[in-house]
Structure formats: structure tokens, C-alpha cells
Symmetry: C2
């Protein structure tokens, strides 16, 4: 078993793309995993494949999990994606774009892939600041997941120790963008919008678009995002 | 939120069918969840639907998760299912029918469904005795999963406490069968075989068939299983 292999959860968005660049910088051999969970913004799956190819990963896999059968989120069910909210409104409550148990499910699939490819390092883009409304983005959740992973698996029974790396946990969006740019990330290949146009252009108004645009402004870095309506 | 609602992971096998009968006996309103994970023994999905209908559940859902993209198990990949092993051989190691992180993934999906339907009770058929080779069947794994669930979810942030019930944990197969018969379970509707015939008949030789047949013998209860080759 290689101790330097990792599985990176890669959505094709700004955060996970930065995570992948971070993992490569660590010297990890990177296996990337995108989850097709019936999300409305399916163009991000194409972005994930583009990013994986651009960064030269060992292999990129897509696992289909039809979370639409469960419902409960604006990202998978027929609930409107909120638009035009300011940051205080985003931070006030768990947002409707929360997908029940999504990060838990995704990390578990990453764990299964890690066992299969002989990796013990998982890398994911959870972040307490911009996504404070998502309970499964908190450090205490990540530690609890690690504890479970180290009891759940054949590899752990045989002595492996799984670690979940969350290099973005304490960064704001501008900090993430600065980190990525320092690692050579081309953010034009990434996709963040929850409600893109049929051509895949960003709406500019959903929470994800607004946080992303503000991040580029705060970082003083030109925003390469292609918007349906220029901001 | 109803405190009496539960989600039962229902594979259509003997164990999970007994769990469902146990949950109904507790007075829980039962939502059942079957996972279509690309298993070879897909006839069990039909058994799950039959069992759910026979036991009058609130609703039955099937979630597709294509774990074949990950591989690593005789149940999902092109690895032969072992046949004709005795119990000491089954207990000697983690079996090739182990699916990496399967129970973790399934419980997480059940957790997401529980959040959506307002349930806090999860019921699953893990068992330390017959399945001692599966690390994610141990009580310490279940407790670690609960700890994670109570940090992962919006419901937990809002004060809910999730509990994973594993009523079969300390029972041997004969004990499970006796419990189910006492609760009125008709095991003819269930399916256990890892390698059924095209007509859905049990092979009688895989680990799962052998444990099931021995359970009926030990319990002194007639085995209603339809075998491809009479035992």
C-alpha cells in the first residue's frame, strides 16, 4: 500500500479544484472522485473531468448516487434556488441548498475508493466560514468521520489509519483563491453556480455565484467566470 | 417531527426483514430503504419490495448507488463468489464479498432519508457473530457512526438525536430466525443468496446460503428457501 496515495473529492468547483492542487503540492498520488447525485448543476461534472485532466491525476472516477430518491434539497428536488441574498442571509440558517447527509455519503464513497486503490488520505474542501450553514462542514464532523472510518474498513482492521485533509477549512473565499493561484490553478476551468444557464453559464445571483465573485474581488484577482448576465 | 418514525435498511434478506418486523413491533412508523448498488444478486431488490408490501410500511424507496465504479468486492466486481466453505473458513478473514465502506455508505443514505422524512431512528441488521469478518458490522462502528450522524445533520443542529438500532447484533442465525418467526415473518419472501440462478433460486453453496440453511436447521424450523439444487 502506498502511503502517498490520496482520494480527492472533486466537484469541479473552485474549492475542490484548489484542494486537488494542494494535494498534488503535498506529493500525493491523486485519485479524483466526482459524485453524480442528480444535481441540477450537472455542468459541474464536466468541469470536474476537465480539471482532473488538466492537473494530471492518476485516475478520475464518477460514481452515480441518485439522491433525488431522497429529496429534501433545492439542489436535487423541485425547490427554488435562492437568489440575490446577502452574506448575513446566507449565514442565518442551514440553507435550502443543504443536501441531507451529502458530505457523509460522499466521504464514505471516497473511503470505499481509498480502500480499493490502497490510499489512506482523503482530501475534501469543507470550510467553516463561507459554508457555516452546512453542519457537515465543521471540523468536529470531520474528526467524527475519521473515527468512524478507522473502525469501518478492512484496511483499518489491518492497521491502516485514514486521515481526512481539509486544507480550506479556515480560509475565506479570497484566501482559497489566493492559495489556488499560488499553486497554478486556472479557475476558468471550474464551475460553481447552483443554477447555470442551459449553455453552462453562471447565473451570478445564487449564493455560490455571489460568494465566488466576492472572493475574486476581495483577493484582487480578475474573475474568469463566464456569466449569463455580466455582473 | 414524529419521534416514532424510523428508517429501516431493507435488503430483502433474512436479517433486514427480521429488523423490519422488530421495528414494527416497537411501534415505529417504518420507512424502508433498499440500495441498488449494482449487486450481482439483484433479485434481492425484488424481495425487498415484496417484504415492504407484505409488512405494510409507510413508504419504500430504492436508491441507486453505482458502487461498481469503485470495485473491490466479489459482490460488485468480477471476482468469483466463494462456494462450499465451512464456518471456520468464513470467519478466518475479511471475506472477498466485503464491499468497501458499504455499511457506512448505506447508513449515510438512510440518515439523509431520515432527515427528509423527519425520523431519528435508524434500524439495520448488523451482526457481530455470523459476519465477524465485516469490520462495519461491529458495535463500536455503530457507535462511531451515531457520533458522526449527530454532528453531520441539520436535524442534529436543531436538537435531534439519531440512534442506530441493531436488534440482531448479538443473535446467531437461528436466534434471528426464531425472533422473526415469533413476530410473524414469512421467510419465503426473503432472499439471501449471493449467486442466485437466472430464475432467482438460491445456489445453496455460497457463504450466505450456508449460514441461512444452518440457521433454519439449528432453530428447528423448516427452511422455506427455494434452492436451484435441493440440499
Amino acid at each position: 500500500m502506498s502511503t502517498r496515495a490520496c482520494v480527492v473529492l472533486l466537484s469541479g468547483g473552485l474549492d475542490s479544484t484548489t484542494c486537488l492542487a494542494w494535494a498534488r503540492e503535498q506529493g500525493f498520488e491523486c485519485h479524483t472522485l466526482a459524485i453524480d447525485y442528480g444535481q441540477r448543476h450537472r455542468v459541474e461534472l464536466e468541469a470536474a473531468a476537465r480539471v482532473a485532466a488538466a492537473q494530471g491525476v492518476r485516475d478520475h472516477r464518477v460514481v452515480r448516487i441518485d439522491l433525488r430518491s431522497i429529496g429534501g434539497s433545492a439542489l436535487t428536488a423541485d425547490v427554488d434556488v435562492p437568489k440575490g441574498r446577502d452574506e448575513s442571509a446566507m449565514a442565518a440558517d442551514v440553507p435550502v441548498t443543504y443536501v441531507p447527509a451529502r458530505n457523509s455519503v460522499f466521504l464514505c464513497v471516497a473511503l470505499g475508493l481509498a480502500e480499493t486503490v490502497g490510499a489512506t488520505e482523503l482530501v475534501a474542501g469543507m470550510n467553516v466560514l463561507d459554508y457555516s450553514g452546512y453542519p457537515d462542514c465543521r471540523p468536529e464532523f470531520v474528526r467524527a468521520f475519521e473515527a468512524m472510518a478507522n473502525l469501518a474498513t478492512r484496511a483499518a482492521v489491518q492497521g491502516a489509519r485514514f486521515t481526512v485533509h481539509t486544507p480550506l477549512m479556515q480560509l475565506d473565499k479570497a484566501g482559497i483563491i489566493r492559495l489556488g493561484v499560488s499553486l497554478g490553478v486556472d479557475y476558468a476551468a471550474t464551475h460553481s453556480c447552483y443554477d447555470p444557464s442551459p449553455a453552462g453559464l453562471a447565473c451570478g445571483a445564487c449564493d455560490s455565484c455571489r460568494l465566488r465573485a466576492k472572493g475574486f474581488r476581495d483577493a484582487g484577482i480578475p474573475d474568469p467566470t463566464r456569466y449569463a448576465n455580466p455582473l
